[in-house]
Subunit: 227 residues, 4 copies
Amino acid sequence: MHVSLVKHAAEDGDVTCAARVSTLGGEARYETSASGTGLINYLMRDRHGSPFEHANMTFYIECPIFVAREFMRHRAGWSYNEESGRYKELQPVFYAPDRHRKLVQVGKPGAYEFEAGTAAQRSALERDLYSAYIWATDHYRSILSRGVAREVARVVLPVGLYTSFYATCNARSLMHFLSLRTKHSAAKVPSFPQREIEMVAEQMEEQFKKLMPVTYAAFNTHGRVAP
Amino acid sequence: MHVSLVKHAAEDGDVTCAARVSTLGGEARYETSASGTGLINYLMRDRHGSPFEHANMTFYIECPIFVAREFMRHRAGWSYNEESGRYKELQPVFYAPDRHRKLVQVGKPGAYEFEAGTAAQRSALERDLYSAYIWATDHYRSILSRGVAREVARVVLPVGLYTSFYATCNARSLMHFLSLRTKHSAAKVPSFPQREIEMVAEQMEEQFKKLMPVTYAAFNTHGRVAP
Amino acid sequence: MHVSLVKHAAEDGDVTCAARVSTLGGEARYETSASGTGLINYLMRDRHGSPFEHANMTFYIECPIFVAREFMRHRAGWSYNEESGRYKELQPVFYAPDRHRKLVQVGKPGAYEFEAGTAAQRSALERDLYSAYIWATDHYRSILSRGVAREVARVVLPVGLYTSFYATCNARSLMHFLSLRTKHSAAKVPSFPQREIEMVAEQMEEQFKKLMPVTYAAFNTHGRVAP
Amino acid sequence: MHVSLVKHAAEDGDVTCAARVSTLGGEARYETSASGTGLINYLMRDRHGSPFEHANMTFYIECPIFVAREFMRHRAGWSYNEESGRYKELQPVFYAPDRHRKLVQVGKPGAYEFEAGTAAQRSALERDLYSAYIWATDHYRSILSRGVAREVARVVLPVGLYTSFYATCNARSLMHFLSLRTKHSAAKVPSFPQREIEMVAEQMEEQFKKLMPVTYAAFNTHGRVAP
């Protein structure tokens, strides 16, 4: 998973400036340097969400299709542009779990937990993935080589194939995403994200934490529920 | 592709009732039986879009993953729930183009056209798809059989696999979808949808036409640009 | 405040049908009669919000402009059509607090409470409102009578003037609205709505409770935080 | 009307970078300096709207309440924070049409035109506005002076009162706003905005034109229909 922050107009001051127009009106001036820890905590606690919407971030993300599918279900406050299998020949870069990825699911729906799995399970999986990915790539290229359109040929490519996209969000929509797509000890409400999208979310969280440290701290303090 | 209308609260009268509150206020009563061809045409022509948002439809759709991916990029006025590869074992139902699907793309980006392709191209494609799909299914089952979680095993499954979902929209968001995902002689602005999503869109259009004939006619009259 | 439910396609079964497609896929059929208390509670608890978006309701609302202003700040999952001061002459119907409306605010921002106020305060307020409303109405009519456009004349009308509008929402967006615009003993997070919008919200809540009793109960059980 | 651009992360390069990920995927790098007139024109013409969503702007706006009411009906791609009549005492700054504002409406709904009005009409209007605004201010203060809450006292204030707010949008949502809230000779579809919101829109358009000249030119070239 690759995540980079390509553009941002996001700092804690965006939140406090936007919020202060409520009480100060035309006297408020856009001075993002003013401190506002107390105000931001109050807004987070009482779910005044709109002041968090004026801080914007654009991320470039490379992840497998099955992760992008979950990602793009987030609609409000998100904008996307993605690599197209209609306009370009897709490159054979595929996802394989690393050794930290737990493979075996135990429990029942709504309460799953994961266990590491055995070395034998892991090596068999690696062989299967390798074999499946090679086969799919060969067939994709074979179909293309006969002159069939890319948009048709791609149907054989697996959801483990990497895709790339830009995602623009604001601090509010990002916190909503993080609340659902990460597990975190500070969370008041448990989440059960698939580990792969959590790996993307964690990288986004690192960037968010740097850009908006006061907002980020308040998000954790108040249970990681988006305001 | 399978599309069925599972629920609707959508008729032309919803549009006229909503629009009449502008000029009649509290005297307006929700009487969907009143005729309103002239009013609906005026709203469509002058892009008064909001009155079209009170008519809602829920569709059940079965289509390949690559189609669902394009579909769910529509965010405003759309709600989705989809079959999950995390919570259930996915069934091996795959997409293959029928004999009407043109296979060969000519021209350049922004101005592509499609030609049928030769019989040899078509039969080679069928063999490739069959082979790729069988292989993917075998590997998916093999991985599952060793106790690896469904959410990991699915990474080998191709985007030609069928998925199923509910999609709820309103008449305005549906017209926007149709304007981009169909080609139609009445369209003022050309569209270049992939044929497979167009096949889904055409079935939705049939249902829409029956539910809201006056709105549908006005949509075509005014160039199939969503208001 | 007047609220009526003019149209709905909303029942608890809409939620369970939409949710079951996750685990059942194409085998799921839209059977809204199936019971689903456990499932709905699970969805609410773990914040699976999307299944609640397929149930739609359209309300007709009469309330003062200052309430409509707060109302229409709700964007996601809401559609509106309102009476227009450009297209019709507005009628002189104005808001005055009834004897239950507490008039005096004590405390500080973020922690206000209200007290009833004295009889003298109340009767002075009534005289002031009456005087201000009559004056505004007279000037509105005077300006109109000289041939000035309605859209200009209306600038003298106060935000206590009644307006009317249709609002269409889904169960998820409605729960979000209720969580912010009502005070309720079951709420995990406190809200500080202005009493007048709460009066509208309470009437909408009554309708919602009748249409979707299981969803409504789960909303209260889980702290009135929208999923 | 006062409009100022307080923050922006918006340039033509944002559009081309986002669009190029479709055809270049991971090879695309966020290089906003690359020229892209042809690409932007193509995107605008064929209604590829999403690449325009990654360019963000925040405006600070002072305008009368009746204008803010129309403004905030724009939901998708807009975020707002406004001065609050609950949290602060509102200041008596009111709107009066200047001598360029045409006062008399002729024609019928859907085809109104405006004429200047006579000097007598104008001076009578000015007297009426002055009288109505003074009266409202006096009553607002009188109610406040007796200890009644601000949120109640404000009901007598007219919609001609100035309010202030921050509005954050992206280039796509801004173009949609401009297409509906301005009249312009390049527009393919006529609009009938109230002059006062057009005065706000024109100032926003000036800023947009400077920030994103290529996008702005393409918007006009292609009939001022938002992509």
